[in-house]
Subunit: 109 residues, 3 copies
């Protein structure tokens, strides 16, 4: 068994959860926050049999989209002043960040 940790954008979560349920996969949802943008995203825990791992990954690929987001990141004016001009910076957020871990034991109690 493998444990898939998938960090996805909130915009894609409902579509992804429906896709996983239709595919017969069980999973658990956890609210999380991105380290860089400091805005909300979602971490899914998906325990899956080894031979079905590729199916889960292809559902994630189908349902999660890459998006560009403009963030204003304060940039120092330079010189001695303390004034910060907001500079628009474009950041591309990937569809999903996915870690696959090996499960040593699995119990349904």
């Amino acid at each position: 068994m493998k444990l898939v940790l998938a960090i996805v954008q909130d915009e894609d979560v409902r579509r992804l959860m429906d896709g996983l349920t239709e595919g017969g996969f069980s999973f658990t949802r956890i609210a999380s926050t991105g380290g860089f943008l400091r805005s909300g995203n979602t971490t899914l825990i998906i325990g899956v049999e080894d031979d079905k791992l590729d199916d889960v990954i292809s559902i994630i690929e189908k349902k999660c989209k890459t998006r560009d987001r403009i963030i204003t990141s304060p940039t120092p004016m330079g010189g001695a002043t303390d004034i910060f001009l907001p500079q628009a910076v474009e950041v591309t957020i990937g569809g999903a960040t996915v870690f696959v871990l090996d499960v040593e034991k699995f119990f349904r109690i």
Copy 2:
């Protein structure tokens, strides 16, 4: 050391946490949501020495109960209509879903 991820029903969490604390085990609690029922449950992270894993599993078995829950799942009326009749479906929710992972390194800083 092993890392136990235990997904349990909210009704059992207080009893389980008390049982783990009485047994001298440390753990961390995370609020989560079930993928199928889309209702709240709890994910516990329990780091435990290899030789104490069985003790943790038996505490989880003792404190977490299986429950039946009736959910109304909308069923299409069939034919061309868009009307959905709520149909009562009984779902059995297990006491706990438990993943055991191997810990490569552990630090108390």
Copy 3:
């Protein structure tokens, strides 16, 4: 690739997140609760290349402080009475509790 799960005190999270971002590390933040004190703390998920693991651990060591906290834990008066006198107990909370797991596969979708 390694997956670092770091459970840290809320007081240190902002400083730690800034340190990780300055170091060029990506991570995800999850709100959590301590099993013993039952008060809020933070779990960070940090996926990091094998050769950079030590850098991440030393940032955690630099930014997270051990703290003492006085908790009042009810102590039975002894004897037949049900009266509980709050007794002040000093608990030392470590800077961080860190688990390092091996990542079998990593995808950026």
